[in-house]
Amino acid sequence: MQFDGELAEIRFGCGLSARHRPPSGLEDMLAGLTAADTAAQDWPIAGFDVALKEARTYVLARRAQQKAAGTDAFEAQNSALKAQRGRLLDLRASWFQARLLRCATTDTPFRERLTLFWADHFTAQGKVPALRYSASPYVETSLRPRISGRFEDLLIAAVTAPLMLHYLDQHRSTGPNSPRANRVAKRRGQDIGLNENLAREVLELHTLGVDGPYDQTDVRQLAELFTGLGYSMREGFTFRPGWAEPGPETVLGQTYGAGSPELDAVLDALRDLARHPATAQHIARKLAVHFVSDTPDTQLVAHVAARFAKTGGDLRQVYAALIEHPAAWHPELANVKPPFAYLASVCRAFDAEGRAVAALNRLDTNRLFLRPMQAMGQRWEFAAGPDGWEEADAAWITPQALAARIRWCMDAPQNLLGTLPDPGQAAQVALGQQLDGRLRFVVSAAETRREGVGLLLASPTFQRR
């Protein structure tokens, strides 16, 4: 098989550009995953400890503001709260810019794509104002360093991440017979108990998949086993034995936690789930759907799943299986780029000045990127549920969302670049061998440079990968 570097850049990377040489082969693509993370160094994103610190500042400011209500101190406390709110919004804009610019400027775009893939697989969101914009730090701390390691380590990092525990209500889940539940029942006459949300999603979304071999009893038992997982804004992740349901739990026939409650039992269960054959199948299929096609070749999926099973979930080996299979390289472009990847590929194709993008204030970032993305159907870092963004092409190309894409590519490039490139040359750079006669004609026949560039970016060829 002849390696097609351009196709690699489009399908497994962030699109073509004039500045970046496509990879020379499969080894080159894989080597990029373990090379120094220069994209992260160039465009830094804070770790989750910083997000927690900012969240704490916000909570304290709000408390102070509420306490000062009706006193002379109110105005000052109110402005302090507003300032912290503004700071969170500024941070969010700068983290978004960093995510975008990493895709636009990286030499190892496969790493960016995989980071996006796993950020989606392990979707977590802040449900309160203090944590609302902390998804990027979560990805940076918990996921990005582990995307080419073992799946079980990635799974454990995601499931014990404070933002995940918050998002799927695990931090409130209490063993019905735990010391804490007994205490609350005695003191307040209230029954507190289990929340199954995280346990269910770990089985259904993160590991086995919805068709996997588990039932409601497994969900319940795993939820009991998970009790004790929690976090605090001061310390981050904590294991709280007083919240944990005593006694052993049985998940998929395996018994965990026979002794006193401890974190190790939870981690053992997660490792077993990570190595389960159904998980291999589920992850293999998701990778193939995400990178190759909505309806991937079954042999491709089987090949990737077999490598997952054989290596115990060594993700670098799993990716190798994905990109070495001929079915991953069908020449016609298939999947539609989701809005974020779409905008990033425009920045990459046009070699948008990174420093200029990074210098945008939050209002301009909203105007140029975040609001248009929402109109395209992707509210940044807020998918509708823990199952993340849609993979189906048709989900993104609705009349309304396509209209938003076309509006954006008619107007934003001008704002982004100042002067527009020659549409014909831009088409050559952005599409390489994918540029066919018809599209070449369309771009050249446009009445204005703006429309020529807009049509190029609105073309199905540019929007698919």
């Binding site: 509708a384 199952d387 009349p399 018809r438």
Partner: protein
Amino acid sequence: MPVFPKATPNATAAPRVNRRRFLVDGAALGCCLAASPLLTPVSFAATPSDARLVVIILRGGMDALDVIQPYGDPAYAALRPGLAGGPDHGGLDLDGYFALHPGLAGLMPMWHADQLAFVQAVSTPYRNKRSHFDGQDVLEAGTPGVHQSRDGWLNRLLQILPGSEARTAFAIGQEDMKLLHGAAAVSQWSPDAALALSPQAERLAALMTEGDPLFHGALAEALELTRDASSVSGGQTGQSGGAGRRPPHQRIADYAAQQLRGDSRIAAFSINGWDTHNRQARTLTRSLGRLADSVLALQAGLGPSIWDKTTVIAVTEFGRTVRENGTGGTDHGTGGAMMLAGGAVRGGRVFGQWPGLAEADLLDRRDLMPTGDVRSYMGWALHATMGVSLADLRDHVFPAVELDSNPGIIRE
């Protein structure tokens, strides 16, 4: 996963109902041009019924006590010293016990015409945590608890309405309308999604997408919907000023009315801005103004004969604390209010069982005690206007909802 599908009796084996499936189906409609009602006129003989339903989600948690002010309750005045209501403080008397916030003054003629009603002290089954996120999830999923379904109740309704197709229901605006997520095809558009291309660019775009049915269909549909929406300003709504001049919330209502004059039967959209923790007097008035404008735009846009068959339901994820907080606002609560408008509504009255505001009558000593389930009122409205059976409501639309007594909110 507890979902409540009609087609698959075995809920545990049911395939995941895709939360964005409505987008998929909306686009599928676009990609088969022959099937598009815009391009090929289709007869709608089998359309569910002639009744029109508009659901407005008031996101943020509307304060029931300030909107339908219970000035007849002896405890009310003391709870709301700064946010005083009732006829002595500008409220518009409704029935000698409740008064309407002046922000909805524009709807008083509708009240006097018996086409406007309220339900007090209602909520979804959601309790305790008072999170917008989960509260809206329950409101739109229509389920007894959180995270029980990824699809929405209005979509499940479509799945059992005979003759329903993609144009039957419209999600309008940029806001994600979870209540329409699910297996049934629905349409989606926002008046500000207009796609204005020069004639040359339009021809070239059509040429460029020719080999790609997904893009070609969506593009044709977007251009068609744009032309369609721009005709709203042509004086058909009876309002002055072009569409471009009217604020976004009115354009959404105009567009909803336009669709409901045609083949659509159901429209859903959001009005935000109800999370009034601070300076409620100012923010609530603004949001109520938008709500009143929207309902009036619907009335004007639909015209008397269709308005007569219309039920507008405005619901929110929860009410707010009965006590005013220290910043001139109110915090997240439980019991709230819903609004009903339209010619189909048995208006001119405040429904619901008023629990009272004495300390002992409150929920957790802080919230208005919910005495009714919003799902039950919505269910009865669907039953009375669209003929949905009580069994279907209970089994599919609003799982396990209580429908023992008909509150009589719809005209006979």
